[in-house]
């Protein structure tokens, strides 16, 4: 069944009623079907009104929803002949970032993405999407491979941030992220990144310094988590909601700031309600974004990417 978020309580109650009524059907009169229909419309209305005005903090909750489609789901539905590639050739394989080659709309691409995992086992396996240096170094390797064979790069961004640990620091977490940004910027092939859930700081931009950055309607992208920001700037962990507000981490704000290129609409009630539909829309978004670079010279593609980041920040929010 559905995992409801705290602010979805009224929706949960209504849908609960619908379920109850449905159990009654079959044995009772036909009237129940009518009743179910009415309630269903109510649910839709409520979903629409709730999701039309999600607060930044609520969006953070949706972005982290356990049932939200993850990178593995996007790869499964959008990429054929997917061939995972592993390892940084220096230290280890890090499953917090997965990647490989495959075909998108029939054409070879390199796909890279953070993977958070969907249950306890896979979450541990993928370290909750928090990569270590070897993860970023693997990403660098795959991006260079793409460049070498003139394949576009598609990345899915979904991470709370880079892993904060002794081993990660010892192996140069900072350098690994810095170098990944540098490799992104050096590519002479088009690179499209989609923030599908949580774009957590340096760990996110490491694989998202792209020609086009798309964001799902209810995803977030931020320099620091609302929780982290609240505890540092407000010295109060309870100020998450205020911090989320102040950080301007929603897709809508980031589009206004020119940090992202477009927003991908989510199904009613969020991507987690209808993953297949959400994934299909993301597929269209990627296709459109890549189409803009078809036939362009590699040098031009690289220059355009650079220009885009240089232009950033010329306009603030009014």
């Amino acid at each position: 069944m559905h995992n409801y978020l705290e602010f979805e309580k009224p929706i949960a109650e209504l849908e609960g009623k619908v379920q109850e009524l449905r159990h009654l059907t079959g044995s009772e009169e036909v009237n129940i079907a009518d009743e179910v229909g009415k309630l269903q419309t109510k649910v839709e209305k409520l979903l629409k009104s709730t999701y039309a005005k999600l607060s930044p903090w609520q969006k953070a909750m949706v972005a982290r929803h356990a049932n939200r489609p993850h990178t593995v789901d996007y790869i499964r539905d959008l990429i054929t002949e997917f061939t995972p590639l592993a390892g940084d050739r220096a230290f280890a394989e890090d499953s917090a970032i997965i990647g490989g080659m495959g075909r998108f709309r029939g054409e070879s691409v390199v796909v890279i993405g953070h993977e958070k995992g969907a249950d306890t086992d896979t979450r541990i396996k993928h370290n909750f999407g928090m990569a270590k240096p070897e993860g970023y170094r693997k990403a660098q390797r795959l991006m260079k491979l793409a460049d070498q064979f003139h394949l576009p790069v598609v990345t899915f961004v979904d991470t709370p941030g880079a892993y904060p640990g002794i081993d990660a620091e010892a192996r140069g977490q900072a350098e690994a992220i810095a170098r990944s940004i540098e490799v992104c910027l050096s590519l002479k092939v088009p690179m499209v990144s989609v923030v599908i859930g949580e774009g957590g700081s340096g760990g996110a931009i490491a694989v998202a310094t792209a020609n086009q950055v798309l964001m799902l309607e209810h995803s977030i992208y931020s320099v620091i988590s609302p929780e982290g920001c609240a505890s540092i700037l407000w010295r109060d962990k309870e100020q998450n909601q205020v911090a989320a507000e102040a950080l301007r981490l929603t897709a809508q704000d980031l589009l206004k700031l020119g940090v992202i290129d477009s927003i991908i609409a989510e199904p009613l009630g969020g991507a987690h309600r209808e993953p297949a539909a959400a994934i299909a829309t993301v597929g269209e978004g990627i296709e459109n974004a890549l189409a803009e670079y078809a036939g362009l010279d590699g040098g031009v593609i690289k220059a355009k990417r650079r220009e885009k980041f240089l232009e950033m920040g010329k306009h603030g929010l009014s």
Binding site: A162, G165, A168, A174, E175, L185, A246, R306
Partner: protein, 334 residues
């Protein structure tokens, strides 16, 4: 480009007199807690004479230390949009900015200057930790880009001296984007074939370490500097373990292969001059290498005088590089 130039002559300024700190003032070393005379501390380049602890230098002091005769020209930086997010935590960001500007007399946390160092032209971009912890927002990003372009224009090496806690949270996602923009600055210098040298100083962490600061062709650090991505507290909370002794210090990074050398402040200028010379003045013939083994030059004085600092100042032997690079058959003599 209209670089507004302002000559800075520290000696002259001393005569005119800035906010003077009386010589009889005492400082307490934050590391060994010994008392140090203000005059002695300044004479010793703000290094504790008791324990060798390197105290932070602000951007102006840093430039005075690096440039020949302490003379340099700083460039006026384009001011970016102020407070782009209209950010307010317990206080308004715009108020915090003003306060820092009043306190430091600077516009933001970076100083971009050019001049000569060992008679070589160099461009230096130095961070000012006193300005909001040296944090990187739009202004710092613009400063790094301006520094890179100045270096390219002057065909001079770029030396960046970070001293920063990381991204400036009050500029939200735009501060994160400076990681990409500062990396573009590095790329512009690289593409021009010019050396990009980073002098890591205390602290170099977060988004600053995870972008331009870790991309130097050569990475030099001051002893004891805190360098890392994640903050120690965050790591402790995540892994619930005590952090090892010396964790994220310059010496730790050196041991882990992340930086080229740890150099005492007294030797810093000479070391940087030598590095710039080796990279920019390869020799009369213009050839990068010579097959003739060059006479061994004495490298910078050793750091024994630092006393208990266990870190060896580590220098690359230029001759060794020549041999390795050119002739694999030539046996290394030492």
């Amino acid at each position: 480009m209209n670089w507004l130039k302002s000559w800075v002559r520290p000696k002259l300024r001393e005569l005119v007199g800035q906010k003077e700190i009386p010589d009889h003032l005492w400082h307490k070393c934050p590391s060994c807690e010994e008392m140090i005379f203000h005059r002695d501390l300044e004479k010793n380049l703000r290094v504790c004479q008791h324990c060798g602890h390197h105290m932070r230098l602000n951007a102006k002091k840093r430039c005075e230390l690096l440039f020949d005769d302490g003379e340099y020209t700083s460039i006026e930086l384009k001011s970016p949009i102020v407070d782009p997010l209209k950010f307010k935590d317990r206080r308004k960001y715009s108020d915090r900015l003003k306060e820092s500007q009043n306190k430091t007399g600077d516009d933001d946390a970076i100083l971009v200057a050019h001049g000569t160092m060992g008679a070589n032209k160099v461009v230096v971009a130095a961070f000012n930790f006193e300005f909001m912890g040296g944090s990187m927002g739009m202004a710092v990003g613009e400063g790094l880009l301006a520094a890179a372009r100045l270096a390219v224009m002057q065909r001079a090496p770029l030396i960046v001296v970070p001293s920063s806690g990381g991204a400036r949270m009050q500029e939200g996602i735009l501060s994160l984007m400076q990681m990409a923009r500062s990396t573009i600055a590095v790329e512009e210098v690289r593409e021009a074939g010019l050396p990009y040298i980073v002098l890591l100083t205390d602290p170099t962490t977060g988004g600053v370490s995870a972008s331009f600061a870790m991309l130097g062709d050569i990475a030099v650090s001051e002893p004891g500097a805190m360098i890392g991505f994640a903050g120690a507290r965050v790591i402790e909370q995540t892994i619930r373990q005590q952090l090892p002794e010396g964790f994220q210090r310059a010496e730790y990074l050196y041991e882990h292969g992340m930086i080229d050398m740890v150099v005492h402040r007294t030797d810093l200028r000479d070391t940087l001059i030598r590095i710039v010379g080796l990279l920019c003045n390869p020799g009369a013939s213009g050839e990068l290498v010579s097959l003739e083994p060059a006479p061994k030059k004495k490298t910078v004085s050793d750091v024994d005088e630092v006393g208990e600092d266990p870190t060896p100042a580590t220098f690359v032997d230029p001759d060794a590089i020549v041999v390795d690079a050119i002739d694999p058959n030539d046996d290394k003599k030492d």
